[in-house]
Symmetry: C2
């Protein structure tokens, strides 16, 4: 099936004079996860991971993806003839290097300019210039080939009240305009959906697990345009109440599809845009007519720094989430071997428990519920037809999260379901140590995740081990669960964003893991809120406040491997877990919680 | 005196239409340390530190320097009216910000383009463009004001045999030309002295403690020009043997002062240069006539990675250096309270001991021998007239090194001279822990010093403490004791170079410290050689080999504060120190060495 699709694509390429076709994983808004309409890379490759770029030439096809997906991609690409390019591994070319190698003198590169970001496209233009070929940026691979393609989403949009957002649209606009003034910009164009949702204090559900809505925004000093209306789909995307709110704030609501026409009509002004997150089609339409200031969107930096209201709400969201996940843990640990459980039914039960919590909206990403060897597949997704049955032995790793009005959560716990080997226990303890080390780091203001990542990784590296993913990522507030610009990682992925200086109010996950192919996978993840600590002659010290409150399965911990300090940290953490959660538990559950958070 | 000089400078500025004058610490070759002729910043400010930039306007004068020099600069600037700008501190503007603030609309900035690097000057041009003023880059502040200015140095140049350099000039040229080919460059211009000395396998002594010689080099595919002859000074800089060697290798030796004339005559070709280390005058002469490829000099990267011969030699150099410094430690510890000692006489005695070692050439930098509170002045330099008398109490910190034919060394030990307080002992132990942690780090290939710095700093940050300098710097091979591109630091100094990926063969110091103003200073420094370790599915692991072998004063260590692991590391290190050094010690010295390296 994949081979047949590729054959049809190659015919289409030939007809359009495209020698090399690039299919990234993106929508018109640089979203990390994309709605069905935009899953073109998946359509042509069969690879279902959330990150990857497919390159197709007349002779070859290659899929570039990162360490989280190596095992999964190997499985899914088997038999398709598509080569897997394991990004970041020795001797594997980067995407750019591969393109330079594949594209011959005078050949052309084609892609859909709406799903390639402007910053990235500039690099392709450079390569094609060297090759004396051209970039064909209006080549849409799926058009005419993908018959049953899903339609564009058009879900209702709702307003996030100020008791949740902590800052009004008017105040946010004021801050954005201050940034525009600094850059002497007349207009600011925003095309990234999370930036738009944050700025307008609106949320939607156009993308699974991402409470955003398809839109473009144009901010001027005296005017705000929101291209988001989808009346022509016959759906009420904006209820009267929301329309009224926008009107009150001087926002003009326009049809979604009018954006490109509008952009093509702009003239002679200075525009602030983020080329890294703006698509190339928009860039081409602006080119030559507008003076462009290219920098990170002011909203990207602003929304990463949670305000007092958001921080207070996040504490509430995480408490609710902690109750749900801990209840799930109780259910798992007390029913294993008694009730039938599979990865799918367990995951569903966890979602059920989250739904019981007030203001729960939806899971913040697709739950990873991975039993035994499946845990070694970093972004494993259980399928009904072949999911594993959970038995009373080994590990069950569950990485999940929820969107609440009080914010988004992301937590991983690995549960001991029965007997485990000595090595498995050592690995579990190692992951715990790594998580504790990073979490307890105090540091001077000015540090980036790049500086701190080794705090988690050192116990692995010391033993010749590693995990092939970043240690942590930023988390949005009722927004994308992966959010920049803060992160914990040691290595720059070529073309990736620099990890930002950690500011008070930033939320980042702390999630080291270990993955032994064919055997087991362990990950333990807490979310950390960056806070200001002591300020003295050396500078402003910073520390992390825990947001996540769920027991760490003591059945996996070899206490003899912990230092005195680590043991104290674990006990202190569990003590607070018990204090926070015990009001929500009674009887056997409460007894169990006491035991699960006991001092070791 | 300083005020008078500044008055004369301001008169000169007015005459030349210069509103703001910039005086950096550099020579025409971007050397870190400069020979007397180039100490213009010192002449006008009185500040003797090795790093700093003086900015003089009609009304104000300000000196920018970094954390190593805050205490020293505060003392030396007192009464001069010059403002101290403590770089990197909160609320202190960067040099660029300060210039933007000081230079008014339509005003001009003046400096000597020979002592400002091209990359840096580009930033000044940008500011002046905004201000609609101009950069006057042929303004030489000292000319006509500095009467008794020292002359340009012109010391003899000698050849470093291949048994020391490990690679012939011919082979090095071949590698440089390969890099030129990659960049499609017709010519490569090198103006930095350490790059030139390394490439030609020549050494000199034109700058105190830096075995380099004033020169410029021009490499073409079929020609090599070395502008270094100084016959007009009446000195034999190049002996016949060296001239013969250069001739054999196809190198044309030309007068030093002919370089700028030559550059002004180049035309229509593509030149590889490193603007970050090439002066602005050269840049201006090339501008518009040559196509310039700006990147780090190939030789900078090559010389940082020591070859097998250099590594083997370095082990020998450090053993000799270890014998000298350990003998010094014995002398100090056994004679304190019996023999009179000052910072100056102790430093001289150490130099004497180094001189007894075979192939010793000179100290690799000005010895820092700092007693008591002077130890808190990071780059303290004892002066004959007011140096401290060493008493049988407190700490003596000695940071010193030697140039040998087998390489350069840099070591710091802090010695306990008698009674110390509990806090002092805690601090000493903390510094030791920091040094041990970084030294024992294993890491995946691809890490930079930026990733690893926290390994040393974490024990300080945990306690709300810090040291205001990088944790370590690269070290040249019989070259500059501070050498890029490798380093250990967590923060980028604006305009500074990025710390490079650590490669096998790179030598970096590991030198955390603590500085309590008015009380004490402690620093412990070993040099680390980066090595390849295990390679497995996770990647290429790297580790550090110790180069430095001198006991760490156990009188300063509170063993109860060490973890089991730290104690083992310390004992293991001392065991090897004893094994390596004991053949060179006899009788009481040997007994003492046994005790000084005992297991704790």
């Amino acid at each position: 099936m994949i081979q047949e699709r590729l054959t049809r694509l190659r015919d289409k390429m030939e007809a359009a004079d495209v020698d090399c076709c690039l299919i990234p994983t993106s929508d018109d808004h640089d979203s990390e996860y994309v709605s069905g309409f935009f899953t073109v890379r998946r359509f042509f490759s069969g690879f279902t991971g959330s990150a990857g770029t497919l390159v197709v030439t007349g002779k070859e096809a290659a899929l570039f993806t990162d360490g989280r997906y190596f095992i999964q991609a190997r499985k899914q690409l088997a038999g398709t003839g598509i080569k897997l390019m394991e990004m970041g591994e020795p001797d594997v070319p980067t995407l750019k290097e591969y393109l330079e190698e594949q594209i011959k003198e005078g050949q052309n590169l084609g892609f859909d300019g709406k799903v390639v970001q402007a910053g990235e496209a500039a690099e392709y233009e450079e390569i094609l210039q060297k090759k004396q070929g051209k970039v064909i940026w209006d080549f849409e691979p799926a058009e005419g080939i993908w018959q049953d393609r899903p339609s564009l989403p058009h879900a209702p949009v709702f307003r996030l009240e100020e008791c949740y957002s902590g800052e009004s649209l008017a105040d946010k606009l004021k801050r954005v305009r201050q940034e525009m003034e600094k850059e002497k910009a007349d207009v600011h164009i925003i095309t990234s959906l999370d930036d738009i949702a944050w700025l307008f204090n609106l949320r939607g559900s156009d993308i699974d697990h991402c409470p955003v809505f398809l839109a473009y925004a144009v901010i001027r000093m005296d005017e705000v345009l929101l291209f988001a209306d989808k009346r022509e789909f016959g759906e009420v995307v904006f209820a009267d109440e929301v329309k009224g709110y926008l009107e009150e704030n001087g926002v003009t609501l326009l049809p979604y599809q009018d954006f490109y026409r509008y952009v093509a009509s702009m003239d002679g002004i200075r525009a602030l845009v983020c080329k890294g997150r703006m698509n190339y089609r928009t860039d081409r339409l602006l080119e030559g007519r507008l003076e462009v200031v290219d920098r990170i969107n002011p909203t990207t930096v602003m929304k990463a720094v949670k305000n007092q209201t958001e921080m207070e709400n996040l504490r509430k969201a995480h408490l609710k989430d902690g109750v749900a996940v801990t209840r799930f843990m109780y259910w798992l640990k007390t029913n294993i071997g008694k009730l039938p459980m599979t990865e799918i039914t367990a995951g569903r039960y966890l979602e059920q428990l989250r739904k019981e919590q007030e203001h729960f909206i939806e899971p913040s990403f697709e739950t990873i519920c991975a039993y035994g060897a499946n845990g070694a597949i970093v972004h494993y997704s259980a399928k009904e037809e072949n999911c594993a049955v959970i038995e009373p032995k080994g590990f069950l790793m569950v990485d999940s999260g929820g969107h609440y009005l009080e914010g988004s959560t992301d937590i991983t716990r690995t549960f001991v379901m029965g007997e485990i080997t000595k090595e498995m226990k050592e690995h579990f303890t190692l992951v715990l140590q790594a998580m504790l080390h990073l979490r307890s780091t105090r540091f001077l203001y000015g540090c980036k995740g790049l500086n701190l990542d080794i705090r988690a990784r050192e116990v692995f590296w010391e033993r010749g081990l590693d995990y092939k993913h970043g240690t942590g990522h930023g988390v949005g507030y009722l927004l994308n669960v992966h959010e920049g610009p803060n992160s914990f990682r040691w290595k720059q992925i070529p073309g990736g964003v620099e990890s930002a200086v950690l500011e008070e109010g930033m939320v980042t996950t702390d999630e080291p893991g270990i993955y032994i192919e064919g055997s087991h996978g362990i990950r333990t993840e807490n979310e950390l809120l960056c806070r200001k600590g002591e300020k003295n002659g050396y500078g402003q010290f910073m520390y992390f406040e825990d947001l996540t409150w769920v027991p760490i399965d003591l059945d996996g911990v070899d206490v003899s491997l912990l230092s005195e300090k680590e043991r104290t940290q674990l006990n202190d953490y569990h003590k607070i877990v018990f204090e926070k959660l015990n009001p929500y538990f009674t009887n056997e559950e409460l007894e169990w919680l006491k035991e699960a958070t006991r001092e070791v």
